[in-house]
Symmetry: C2
Subunit: 367 residues, 2 copies
């Protein structure tokens, strides 16, 4: 790795962001607010983030020369996505500081590694069994004792690569559905709520977390996050503490999203860690309106060695994703009182594509 720049990086420094989608776009805006340059790396000639970035380097994620050129021009680099090939991370880290570190990506992009890591860290994933072949599914199902979900170990995102299994007779169909690749079989946790914690850790080891939000998904895609979550304070606190443990165990720098199931009746519960996302997270978009330092700025602050915001929330919020042609109602959405509309500048509307989001923000209720 190249010699690290002294921290905190002063205004005028360049932060490299690999991935120019909506997360990169909101990261670039946050960097600009702090007087930092955002450089975007993306294979697309006109990714959403490029319009608000100081520079855009176009290149494939396996183009070592372009990656080197990009990395040499920034004082720190980070990713907007977690499916980072190890070679890409290494190519970047050879020329500049990479935050978070490559181990966080390796763990987050492999469900078996992730669940093993959680258990080592003293946290509870949903009960699970690693699956390498179709024949392993039926005994695993029996061991888990109930309905389960077969998920590919790698590259799962927004509900893709998953198949639900009610009984052993469905094993073959499910195995074929996910493409007959290494997988985990995960017990269906009878949760009453999904929640997530957006937290951050600085270069100095300081940790800050936002209040946990309550999430609703539909068809495997996040639909809505509500803050406050309306769950017992002890549960929220446990979720925040779990996020802190994960950050420390990974020697993590940056923002992380940790999704939980709240299942009060389940043995080993009530909190199960569903997923770790080593990046800014869709369930943290509400922080843009409700916090002095939002998750995007928090991530930029962390990777640039700045002091973290304290995560305090001055308002209540409900964030709703605009999926596919829901964004076509932009004019009506813009007219709703208290609605903060965000459109990601994606030229083409596609079914299931996140086109924007809208946050309804209200004064913080007491308590």
């Amino acid at each position: 790795m190249a010699e690290a720049a002294p921290l905190p990086l002063p205004p005028g420094s360049a932060v490299g962001i690999l991935g120019g989608g909506q997360l990169g776009r909101m990261l670039a805006i946050a960097a600009a607010r702090l007087g930092l340059e955002a450089h975007i790396y993306d294979p697309d000639p006109a990714p959403p983030a490029a319009a608000v970035a100081t520079r855009h380097v176009q290149g494939a994620y396996d183009d070592a020369a372009a990656l080197a050129r990009f990395a040499a021009g920034v004082q720190v680099a980070t990713f907007e996505f977690e499916s980072v090939p190890a070679a890409t991370a290494a190519a970047v880290a050879a020329h500049t500081a990479l935050r978070p570190n490559a181990r966080a990506f390796a763990i987050a992009q492999d469900r078996a590694l992730e669940k093993a890591f959680l258990e080592e860290t003293g946290l509870a994933p949903a009960p699970w069994v690693a699956i390498e072949a179709e024949a392993e599914i039926a005994p695993a199902l029996a061991r888990l004792g109930g309905a389960a979900i077969l998920k590919t170990r790698r590259l799962g995102y927004d509900g893709k690569g998953q198949a639900r299994i009610a009984g052993a007779e469905e094993a073959g169909t499910a195995w074929a559905a996910i493409g007959a690749v290494p997988a985990v079989l995960e017990r269906v946790v009878p949760f009453t709520a999904e929640l997530s914690v957006i937290a951050a850790r600085g270069v100095d080891g300081a940790v800050a977390a936002y209040d946990p939000g309550r999430n609703e998904h539909a068809d495997g895609i996040l639909r809505r996050t509500t803050i406050p979550a309306g769950l017992p304070a002890s549960v929220l606190q446990d979720a925040v503490l779990a996020a802190g443990r994960i950050l420390r165990a990974l020697d993590y720098v940056g923002v992380i999203g940790v999704e939980f199931f709240f299942a009060p009746g389940a043995s080993g519960g009530p909190l199960f860690v569903n997923e770790i996302a080593p990046r800014v997270h869709n369930t943290g978009h509400w922080t843009i309106e409700a916090c002095a330092v939002d998750q995007f700025e928090q991530h930029i602050r962390a990777v640039a060695g700045w002091p973290l915001g304290d995560g305090a929330r001055h308002a209540d919020a409900v964030m709703t994703n605009l999926i596919g042609d829901e964004a076509a109602a932009w004019a009506e959405l813009a007219a709703e009182p208290g609605a903060a509309l965000h459109l990601y500048g994606k030229a083409e509307i596609r079914p299931g594509r996140k086109m924007g989001h809208v946050t309804h923000v209200t004064p913080r209720r007491a308590g």
Copy 2:
């Protein structure tokens, strides 16, 4: 003028912003949030706004060819500053819609026209007399009956081009100090508070205003804006109504800043209009954190023919400008709880230069 684009301008449309300073920068970010392109026109090769804009056209404000090229590439154009030469406005308006209209600039950049306009609109500027020659100062001073300020009719900004006059014997010095140019002599209003209203009017004539903020100046430069203002509700309401009258009288489209003196003891008071700024305004920066739709997005919405945000405020805020080397304390400022730091990306710190601002945001108190 070219044929106007149908409104509201859909996402993907381009909004032209003449002037690439911090106001243009925050306008460009707001445009991006709505999925609109921001094109910046500025003579500087790397103005602060260019880093967050889709396109930057470099050109002088009297370069008709560059202005035409810029204007032809956008569906609407607006300015971040009010000292817009009439020829510049005309060159832009020949190729695209210009909002607000040229009359608002003409009035705002000439203090005599501005005060006459206010009186025609039934509002009270500070008592004043137009001055064309030094000899007119002493009789005007007698007529106003007290200490006064001599201000150049044109190009006044942040306290430049002003001279205070306690008695007739200071007329010559003051006249020389402002450069012996056409001026207005303005009575010193014994105000107890300065406040401002940031308001907007849409293409459809709808008006929305933010809660008035209370302002403190030092050396003619805005130091701090506090919201809520802590003034009687009737005064705040009168200020908002006055801003609405101004918007309608100018057939204005966009955001306007109207500064007032609150002088409970003065005859003709208690509210005097100090100044109109036909643009987003430094005293409205607090809306970024405290409102779902901030003043920058409100301006973009107005000029793009979108529905306006309702101006509702979900938090309390204190905005403090960072002038000159105050911005050098960025690391300490970033560490303050509840502080939202904004740095404008200006390479060079100069005394009196606005380098950034910091908004301390807190949950909205009841009432």
